[in-house]
Symmetry: C2
Subunit: 394 residues, 2 copies
């Protein structure tokens, strides 16, 4: 599998972890401050305020030391009681995860299951809420990381706000890549992660909580300790503000710089950059004759592109060749899409030439594996999209 040249530069192009800038890595490597010191508290407060700006919310936002799945568990376990009815709109592997967590914690799960690659229909959610006025919570993904589809959270929020249920949004891979407006869209609980569009190291998640959700929290009896958000709130109000348990200090310090970079670029520009990166990737692979998993263009998110592996090509061999020979790590499919798709992440500290690299590596790999297409058609199309969309002159 190895080429003639020893130096194979490594590129990580998955939907998490995402590429991390050198300056964020240097922040990450700073000697650790104590988590109950005013010095760390200052950074903790700063990061929390910046996260609120990113979430576009005045709600509480708390930092959890865990992967995004921990924040999903926190979202499930802090607002309901045993036997409560919840609705999960599932469009992929992470929708299934909401169902599993809810079932494990003895909630009654009603589910709306969509084809993987499709998005949830807000009208379906409305119908279930009308038929089941006792539903306490609606759970849905913003960007479904396993497929790349995006849900219309604004429309869903506009529905759920009229019911007693709270709306829980897993925005882990979407937050920072696509515009999300927590308060304006009436999102009660929103979960995010350090390792996606923020482009900070893995290991920290965060969660926002609306007043409507806090009211449910008061009556909730599900068991929780490590992910107890009332404890997080209590400790955030101490002097100095802090976390209940020892946090991932070096990750939070890195995040502080990483979020600054998003704000320095300007959030609107960040979203536009992700839109063009996604478009270039998607148009390029279509030009190569490949099929996207998300058929409907309006349902394609900006964070990750899922490509159906063509007949006769082995998905594992494809990703392995890209990783070992070309140094480019992309992701395979999850759950029932395992072996059927590949996923290219294009979020976070990711630029135009990163797209060129991953499409170029994909072209050379597919050529080598015997897939018939016009070599160069993908990168040419990507270049065209970048120029046409004034990627640099926006």
């Amino acid at each position: 599998m190895e080429g003639e040249f020893e130096v194979v530069k490594k590129y990580i192009m998955t939907p998490g972890p995402t590429p991390i800038s050198e300056e964020v890595l240097l922040e990450h490597a700073r000697p650790l401050m104590h988590h109950r010191s005013p010095e760390f508290s200052k950074i903790f407060i700063e990061v929390t305020e910046k996260l609120k700006k990113l979430f576009k919310t005045k709600n509480d936002v708390f930092i959890l030391t865990s992967s995004g799945t921990g924040a999903m568990e926190a979202a499930v376990t802090n607002f309901f009681s045993t036997g409560d009815k919840v609705l999960v709109a599932s469009v992929g592997n992470f929708g299934e995860r909401f169902k599993k967590i809810s079932s494990r914690f003895n909630l009654e799960v009603i589910s709306l299951d969509y084809e993987w690659g499709d998005s949830a229909n807000p009208e379906d959610i409305k119908k279930v809420l009308v038929d089941n006025p006792d539903i306490k919570g609606v759970m849905v993904q913003f960007s479904e990381t396993s497929t790349g589809a995006i849900n219309d959270i604004k429309a869903i929020g506009n529905i759920v706000k009229n019911y007693p249920a709270i709306l829980i949004v897993d925005a882990i891979s979407g937050l920072g890549a696509s515009d999300l407006r927590t308060d304006e869209w009436n999102l009660d609980v929103v979960a995010g992660g350090s390792q996606k569009a923020l482009s900070a190291p893995t290991g920290v998640a965060f969660i926002s909580i609306s007043d409507k959700a806090w009211k449910l929290n008061e009556k909730s009896n599900l068991p929780r300790f490590y992910f107890d958000l009332a404890a997080a709130k209590n400790y955030s109000q101490k002097t100095p503000p802090q976390t209940p348990w020892t946090p991932g200090i070096s990750i939070i310090v890195a995040m502080n710089r990483a979020i600054d970079m998003l704000f320095e670029e300007g959030l609107e520009k960040v979203f536009e950059r992700h839109r063009i990166l996604a478009l270039a990737t998607q148009k390029a692979v279509e030009k190569m004759g490949l099929q996207l998993l998300v058929k409907d263009e309006s349902k394609r998110g900006f964070s990750v592109t899922s490509i159906i592996v063509p007949d006769g090509i082995d998905a594992k061999e494809l990703t392995k060749t890209m990783r070992v020979k070309y140094g480019v790590t992309i992701a395979g499919g999850q759950g029932k899409l395992s072996g059927k798709i590949i996923r290219i992440g294009h979020l976070g500290y990711f630029g135009m030439f990163d797209s060129i690299i991953v499409i170029s590596a994909l072209e050379m790999t597919l050529k080598e594996l015997g897939y018939k297409f016009e070599v160069g058609s993908g990168i040419t199309e990507a270049e065209r999209i970048f120029m046409e969309n004034n990627y640099l002159n926006d």
Copy 2:
């Protein structure tokens, strides 16, 4: 509060986070590998095997992305069922935490409560087990981080092995500083953390599980998802071995180097170093006329020294002066010892001159705050202890 000189070098001398070596910080700053890549898997397997050597066990050891409290929650929630009876031997704040987690998850808690600064009496545990043969688990700290006391885990293990109950040991601040023999001492579940004697960044914990504990796991019905150890086992057996959820990649990579440093020094030497560091600190502060919280010398651990704040001195002012003026961060008391003690951590990447620094800073601070003692008596005693114990020639 500020001195004349602008450069105040910073020293972290708390019982977690602990000082991290430059080479571990550089490892920590490496670009992230993908957590499902063979490249990361290799490191994941290596770290797991090294942790087993550190735990002195052939049992399964799993890495969790959380603080130590997450590993404590995993220890509580993976082996019991609702209403099960557990015994917590509590000698401080972290014993209380075991009680709280157990109560939150609806276990019936019997507790043996000792003075904070004392250790658990193994005979008391035996008596409770004899009187309550239906006890399913015994929970105890190895080193109680809030007091510095150490429990006789070997003796406790020798008792609990004869009962159906499993023995759960929070070894978070003790592991790597004092000898702990998971298999030889019959310890069923042992929890550790990245940020203590390992001297890696905060955010990762680990846990070992015996066959006796796995048997209970099969029948356990407590709700769990993020900390589900059966999921951790399942994913550890995949090709390549991995974690169920995205782990703290950069922390695990840093840990790999950090544990190597312990093995390069030699575990026996590491323990002896910690013994002398603790002894020097304890004898030095006694020479200064200060009282240790742990009266009985045989109950003093090697990880952290708790000192009673003398009458007339304000604990907060003491720690603040040390931190702001001298750059030396130590810890205050936790729970009911808040404001009553200070705690000096001397574990991990910590040497003789680190002890000299912290005692020197403590001397100058106490002098400034009006405490009457012979200035220099502490550091002189520390030097004497280091020389007498052949710290360098061992």
